[in-house]
Every structure is written in C-alpha cells, then in structure tokens.
Amino acid sequence: MRLILSLLLAGFLALGGVAADKICLYFDQTGPGDLSFNDMALLGAQKAAEDFGLELFYTTASSPMGFLSDLSGLAESGEYVVIVGVGFLLFDALPEAARLYPEQKFAFVDGPNFDLPNMLGLLFREQEGGALAGVVASLVAIANGDPAVGAVAGMEIPPVWRYEAGYRFGAHWAVDWYKAHTGNDADIKVMVTYVGRFDDPAGGKVAAEALIRAGARNILGIAGGTHLGAFDAVEEAGRAAGREVGPPFAYGADAAQEYIKPGFILGSARKRVDVAVYEAVKWALGDEPGRNLVLGIKEEGTGFSTYEDIVTFIDLAVKAGYPLAGGPEEVLDKILAARQSVPYYVWQALGEFAGLLRAGEIELPEANTAEQIAEVRAEYP
C-alpha cells in the first residue's frame, strides 16, 4: 500500500509543474515506425520543436477504447502548447476532447476542425498525389501491355477515398492522353483492394499478390503499414521473373518510399504530413482561431516524389537505422535506374498533368462521402 501511495505521489510530482512548453503527438494506431504517415508527423514535430525551442512528447493509443480518456488526460495536464492528433480514427474523440477542454489547443492531421475555435484541421488534397501516381501507373501499364493498374488500400475512410478517387481519375486521364498522343488504342481498368487495416502487412501482401495475378502490375499502396506487404509482393514477383528492376512496380504514399524496395518502387504520391504538423505548432503559438488548413500541390503539400524527396528519405532511413538494401548511393542508383527504365513520355505526361493541376485547369473528383466515392468508382472503373 505504501509503495502504491508513494508511486502515486511521485506521479503527481512528476506532473506538477504546469507551463505549456511541450508539443504532444498522439497517434491513433501503430505510431512511428511505419516509414510513412506517422514517421513524417514525427519529423515535422521534431523540426518544429527545434525551431521553436519546445520539448516533444509522443504516445500511441493502446486501443481505440481509450482515445477519449487518453486525450482528456493529456489536455488536463496543461503541459502542451498543442496536442496533435495523428490519424483519421480520432474523428469522434478529438473534437469531443476539444469541446471538453476549450483552453487546450488541438490539431487534427487528416481531419477537419469541426468549427471549434481551439482546433486546427489539417486536410490534404490526396486526390492530387493519387492522380499523379495514377497517370504514371497507367502509362507504364499501357507500355507493358497490362490490362489494369491496382491499389492496396487501408480502411474505407475519406483520406483513402480521396487517394483512390485521384488514382482512378489519373489512370483514365493517362489513357486519353496516350490515345491523343500516339493514335493507338488503350484501355486500363483500376482495381482497388481494401484490406480493412493500416497495420496488416501480411494482408497487404496477399492483396497485392492477387492484383498481380489479375494483371495489375502497377500497384499503389495507400494503406500505411499494410502496404509494406504489397511492396514485398511486388519485389518478389519481379525477382521471380529474374528482374533487378520492375515491372511489376509499386508506388508509395505519403513519404517518398522508393528506398524500401529500390528498383521496384517507381514513385510515391506525396502527402507532406511533416509540413502540416509544423504549421500546426506555428498556429498554436499564435493567436489565430481554429480553421481548416488544406494543403495541396500549390502549397507543396502534395505531389509526386522528386529527386530531392528521394534523397531526403534515403538520408532519413540511414539516420533511423533502417536496413537499406545496399549503400545509400547504390540504392539511389537503383531507384533512378527504375525511373529511366520506363518510356520517356511517362514523365512528359506527368509534368503536363502536374502543370495543369497547379494552374487549376484540372478538377479532380471529390470523395468525402461513401456516395461520392461510389460515383467516382462508377465513372472511372
């Protein structure tokens, strides 16, 4: 009993000093280590912590059953300048916590601000990154004579739907582009498999294997940790065919993930979660009321991975102790070799599409509700 009391006392003492000088990242699932979404959030927070002289703390929900009590506990400590909820699954608990603790500032990566004065919604135009990947995947598929392109998706939630909607649009845009520029006929189907989880690499692998068997040898991963398994499947299929460089090709999401399977990941649909989290800390230190911050290609918040992105993430992987398949130079060479292995016009089309997006001349379909994504699926099969 005395031990428990003294433990409790120590706990209270440790929680005593109340001065908001820390950033808190609260992850909904799995947390850092996904080499993608969550790690980028951490990256942005680390940069903000350095730049603004704050301490950084982060923790991961042990179960969705505890979202609300976890967030309440964090808010009532009063230690945090901002509590950044990372992940769409916090859609119910985060606004509830923000209502319960109006003095605490919150930010929601992947979610809106619910018109709450103490919450910054951080949204992305995922369609843009998805569409850019769709253009590349589709043209590579046509060049290789494939009937389809594929995607391994996580859960049926709006951020993933937006990726899917863009991917479908981009794939079909590329077919039209190809027809107009070559006069040849082409047809590409888009096959998307939802695994239902973001932390199930084994499920992602099975899904990708099925897609490859069905002829979709360009596969976009939009499933967080789950699509790391899709990368494995793509690499294995390529090596089984005696290749060092695809096809088949995978495409990463959020981060520049090419280094994970160099030669077999042709590109990544970028979503700069790091930029969003950095902006959230900046907002929390100011006096502005809550609003939605929507990041798209114009704000450098979305895009298709560039040479600089690839180099940056190889560096990060080395620093994080990730076991690269060879030296950093070697990995970079392989990634570039993959990019050079596909017809030049693929990159030409990509540049054209990105230019049109930036200029606002292409309107991508919305996919914020189940009905909208159903329409998109019907229009871009």
């Binding site: 982060y58 929900a61 042990s62 179960s63 059953m65 009590s69 309440s72 859609f91 509830e96 939630i157």
Partner: protein, 343 residues
C-alpha cells in the same frame, strides 16, 4: 484468503518482471509505473474512464467464469460480444420511446448471445464436440459477419470509419464523465451470477458438475443440463458486454475495424482467471485490467514504446492469471465424464 495472498504475490512478481524488462531496455520502470497509475486513477475523470473501460470486461469475465464453474473452457465470449454489439446497434433502426428502446436493445442482444451459444451447447452435449474448437470457429464466423454488417450495412453515410451512432433514447444515461448507468447493469449482472451460483439449486448443480462430473452425475445431477445453462447464461453476459460498448460508451457506435470493441471477449478470460472465477474477484480483476489499459497512454509519454507497454501489461496479467489457470488445468476432465454419463 490464501487465494488473495497468492494473487497479490503474483501481482508483485509481475510488476517486478515488468520493471526488469523496462530497465533492461533502458527505461525507468518506477516513474513509468507512477505515470501508469496517475493516468488511470490520478483524478476523478481518469477514475471514471477506468471504471467505464472495465465494465465490459466484468461481463466477458463472467462468461468464462460460469463456464469454468461447469467444467467448460468457454472462449466464445468474443464472438458473442461482437454479435451483441451489432444487434444492440441495429435496434437503433427501430423507432421506439426512450428507455423502452434501451430495454429492447438489451433484450435482443441477450437473445443474440444465446443463439450464438446454442450451437456450442448442442454440439457439445449431443456430439461431444469440444467447446474450445466450436467457440474458436464461431468467433471467426461472428467476426466476419459483424464486420460485413458494420462496413456494408450499418456504416454512417458520411463518416465511413464507423457505424451510425445509437439514438439518444437507446443509450444509458451518463453518470459523470465517461461513466454511464451501464454500471448498474454490470453490477446487477455480477450480483445475479453470484446469487445464482451460490444460492440457487441450478447454480449448485453447475458448480458440482464442474468440481467432479462423475460424482455429480452419480448424485443425480444432469451434467449436460448444467453445461447447457452455463453456456447460455455466458452468452447473455458476453452479448451485453458488446451491447454496453455501443449503448453506454462514447462514441456510441462501432468503428469500421471493430477496434472499439477490442478483444473484450478474450481479455475476459484473463479477468476471470485473475478473479478466480468468482463474481467479486472478477469485479476487482476487471478494474485492475482497466487500470493497466487506461494508464498506458500516460506511460507512453515516458518515452516507452507502445510495444513495450504491451509486454509489461502482458507479463503482469499472465503472472496474475497463472495460479487459477494452473488449478483449472489440474482439475479439468469433463470430456471423460460426459462419455461416462452416456454409459
């Protein structure tokens, strides 16, 4: 008294081993434990969260316990819990007056729980199929069935990540913070199980059948009848565990990965073992389990990775459940008894 001492000793051992694990990986164990306790019990709000979190565990704990008392190893609570949740939520599609709506939802959930326990009982009592096998299989059938319903039929038209929420008139009223009057249902159910097992003839038969099926059969007790009752009662408790997640806990819905129902059914096994298959012990065991779960996030702030927290929780729970688990393994020979009863 001896059992309590055993459990406390096991708790101490578990805490020490957990501390050792943390220390070996370079984390300060005692401040981590302090954070865990502060996170779970540090103030009224946290305490209410912890109690709310424990309620479902009490019910699934009772499911396992009543089975174990009858000499069964019933691990079907998970499937029955999932089904209870989805049936209770589906009642939200009906239009009923407040209060009546809640009672109906609980009633339908209870029926669903019994229906899901029925094949287990029938297979066991007529064909001698091990309840371990049939419940594992039915758990998966329930999992995919419920997942299908949640994603395809009950999902919120705007928020794809969860179902629609239970209408207000179907929810348990809030007491304070996260705690709702589901507390009353859980306490009443635990009380009923205690009364039934120790103060009712049928309950006595269940315990007799579990302690020594041959002797019970020789004394004219129907071992089959006892097992049948235990399985169906367990089904009701487990289904209610799921129902109160939807009717008595934020966000009053089921998430599309079923994660807000978690592994309540399986965790109930550990809770029952910690609580020595006694309703009172189960109340304490569930509260203990809820404490470990609710305090985890605060513990994570000490820089302890979530995986390490799972390890520490696991070590403590396993060591506390071990004494009863060993006892169960030693005394359990029901399959033999059933065959003998057949003649």
């Amino acid at each position: 008294m001896r059992k309590l001492a055993e459990t406390l000793l096991a708790l101490g051992l578990g805490i020490l081993v957990g501390a050792l694990v943390m220390a070996l990986w370079g984390h300060d164990p005692w401040s981590s434990y302090a954070y865990l306790l502060a996170g779970a019990l540090g103030n009224t709000r946290a305490l209410l969260s912890t109690i709310s979190r424990s309620l479902g565990l009490v019910l699934t704990g009772l499911t396992f316990a009543v089975g174990a008392r009858a000499g069964l190893f019933n691990i079907g609570a998970q499937g029955q819990m999932l089904l209870g949740a989805v049936v209770a939520l589906s009642c939200g599609l009906l239009r009923l007056p407040a209060g009546v709506h809640l009672v109906m939802a609980l009633l339908f959930a209870a029926i669903a729980g019994m229906i899901w326990a029925l094949p287990v009982a029938v297979l066991k009592l007529t064909r001698g199929v091990s309840e371990v096998i049939s419940t594992i299989m039915l758990n998966w059938v329930a999992h995919w069935l419920v997942l299908y319903l949640v994603v395809q039929k009950l999902s919120d038209p705007i928020l794809g990540q969860r179902t629609f929420t239970a209408p207000l008139g179907m929810r348990f009223p809030v007491i304070k913070g996260e705690l709702t009057w589901a507390l009353a249902l859980v306490l009443a159910t635990a009380l009923f199980f205690w009364w039934f097992l120790w103060h009712h003839a049928k309950g006595y038969e269940i315990r007799a059948a579990g302690l020594n099926p041959r002797a019970a059969a020789a004394a004219g007790i129907s071992v089959r009848g006892a097992m049948f009752t235990a399985l169906l009662l367990g089904g009701v408790a487990a289904a209610w565990a799921g129902a109160i997640q939807v009717l008595g806990r934020f966000p009053y819905a089921i998430t599309s990965d079923l994660a807000n129902l978690g592994s309540l059914g399986f965790d109930g096994i550990a809770v029952a073992l910690i609580g020595r298959n006694h309703p009172l012990g189960i109340l304490a065991g569930a509260f203990f389990f809820g404490t470990l779960a609710t305090g985890a996030a605060k513990m994570g702030l000490r820089g302890i990775p979530i995986d390490m927290i799972y390890i520490v929780q696991g070590v403590i729970v396993v060591s506390m459940a071990a004494p009863e688990a060993l006892r169960l393994i030693r005394i359990r020979r029901p399959a033999v008894a059933l065959r003998e009863e057949e003649g």
